[in-house]
């Protein structure tokens, strides 16, 4: 199935320099994404999930490691090759209030990527394509000449989606695309994203902190903690049989709407620490109920069960595998 691999991320690192030292926002993360797949990336604020998405699509320069798109290394390409790669890799942002230029009309916003692609001969063709995109994402044609501030959050998010679709990408990073929306609107946008994937077959990387959303939309899930991937597994397996102590705690913390199921919560000590100048060894150890001296050694992500990767040296012990 290697030929179906769209993206391969190898030991990707992104460090930021901050006054206190190096912020290891993404620290040695490796995984791959198949065509048409949805990979959910979950974690709490500051775990590097948004940075990961932005680094993959070259909005940020990787500090180290590789991103292979269809087998070709795009980590440091520039000029023509970078433009080509960016057409395949798009992004939908979290905040529909700041992701649209407040001074561009809806139609101009959607037409802009078309202008840069060079695929269209004249304005009329572009306008026609923009109309098609608007229809595709369900924006009424009469809103063409509106400004973003005249639209509600859900519609703005649809405009953001249309802009990302304009270049016919193979891969879209969805960076918390529904977390700023109300529940009923959120469901509309999630349905739209799933319908579009069915029609056009692109792969999603769905970055979110909302586990119920990610469960609904993803095929596979990657759990991040302080810049590292701690567990990756097919969605149902992760929810049924999570192996990493952090994933277990995270899943148990979701408030459930099932009022008859007794709460069994795994209490975590303290709060997420900072990814600045981390020590080698497991970053979760300070909060982990199972921490032991062996956790101070550097950890690696290992395939514990077929297709199920965990970064925890005590994984087998804890889960009696």
């Amino acid at each position: 199935m290697a030929d179906n691999t769209l993206l391969e991320i190898k030991h990707l690192k992104k460090y930021f320099r901050v006054p206190a030292g190096q912020n290891h926002a993404v620290d040695d993360v490796s995984f791959s994404i198949q065509r048409g797949e949805t990979l959910g990336v979950v974690g709490e604020s500051g775990c590097g999930k948004s940075t990961l998405g932005r680094t993959i699509i070259r909005l940020l320069e990787a500090t180290d490691g590789q991103v292979l798109l269809n087998g070709q290394d795009i980590t440091h390409v520039s000029g023509h090759k970078l433009r080509e790669a960016r057409e395949k890799l798009q992004i939908v942002f979290q905040d529909p209030y700041s992701s649209l230029n407040p001074r561009l009309r809806i139609e101009s916003t959607i037409m802009e990527p078309l202008q840069h692609s060079g695929r269209f001969k004249n304005k009329a063709e572009m306008r026609e394509e923009a109309n098609r995109l608007m229809e595709l994402v369900g924006i009424d044609e009469r809103l063409r000449q509106s400004y973003p501030h005249e639209l509600d959050g859900g519609r703005r998010q649809r405009v953001g989606i249309a802009r990302a679709l304009a270049l016919n990408p193979d891969f879209i990073v969805c960076d918390e695309p529904v977390s700023a929306l109300d529940v009923s609107i959120q469901a509309q946008v999630l349905n739209l994203l799933m319908d579009l994937q069915e029609k056009m077959g692109m792969a999603y990387m769905f970055v979110t902190h909302d586990l119920s959303v990610v469960r609904h939309i993803s095929n596979n899930i990657l759990v991040m903690y302080l810049g590292q991937a701690v567990e990756k597994a097919p969605t149902e397996e992760l929810f049924e049989k999570s192996l990493h102590p952090y994933t277990k705690a995270l899943l148990s913390a979701i408030p459930s709407v099932d009022i008859h199921r007794p709460m069994k919560r795994i209490e975590l000590k303290g709060e997420i620490t900072s990814p600045i100048n981390p020590k080698p060894g497991c970053r979760f150890a300070a909060r982990c109920p199972y921490a032991s001296p062996q956790c101070e050694a550097p950890q690696t992500l290992e395939e514990v069960l077929p297709g199920h990767f965990v970064q925890c040296c005590r994984c087998k012990e804890i889960n009696s595998l």
Partner: protein
Amino acid sequence: MTDVKEKESAKSKRKSSMTAEFARRLVKSWSAKLGLILMLFIILACLIGPYFTGYDLNWQDQSLMRAGPSAQHIFGCDTLGRDMLTRLLYGGRYSLLMGITSAVLGAVVGIAIGLIAGYFGGFTETIIMRFMDVWSSLPGMLLCILVSAAMGNGFFPTVLALTIGSIPGGARMTRGQVLSERSREYIEAAESINCSKLSIMFKHLLPNVIQPSIVITTMSVGSTINMAASLSYIGLGIQPPAPEWGALLADGKNYVTTNPHLIAVPGIAIALTVLAINLLGDGLRDALDPKLRG
């Protein structure tokens, strides 16, 4: 309550362009209205007024030297017996033209510099902004005197001197705006759809950072008019017999106690113009301030 407002505007499907909205709010603000009316009046008066005073710029009656206001000469006559009103209106053309030209030129250059510094950041920004710091630490008057001394007197050297003095303000203001705007996601979105750097700077950043600079520029017209007058007053800038307002003031400075109208007339004209411009600037700020975003 922002989203209530939002739904309101979404409901009223008026295709209200932002310009129309801005104009509506500008007219609503009383300070802008007053400033605008006053400014239009002053400009009109300077443009067509001189043809209706009944006197030529160089008309002279030596018997009327320093004469006070009268029915024939409502603002009196100057030290050489020329009609004060005519000279004041002619002088206004110079003052306004110099003030506005140099403020606008300074703003254009300043905004461009600020845009480059803010967008590229890093080393480029440090160099540019430190240079601006040094630049603006020179007293404006001194700068103007230096330029005038180096390039001579007259209209263009003076405009150049005034322009140079007003660049750092616009640059600083724009850079600050760019810094806060650059982190917004629509800039990232523009990068991801292959917008060029130029296109990001001018299509995306510029329209979103220019508002405060417009206000600053408007306000700085007042200070450049003042500065131009000061230059003429100390004998630099525009030279006699051109009746620039500062020159009129200089002309009358020896007669403050005996013939106060010589100072009062150009003095009040300068004060009124600067007031009008500041009112207009205030109104602009009010009209531009409630940002048109959610």
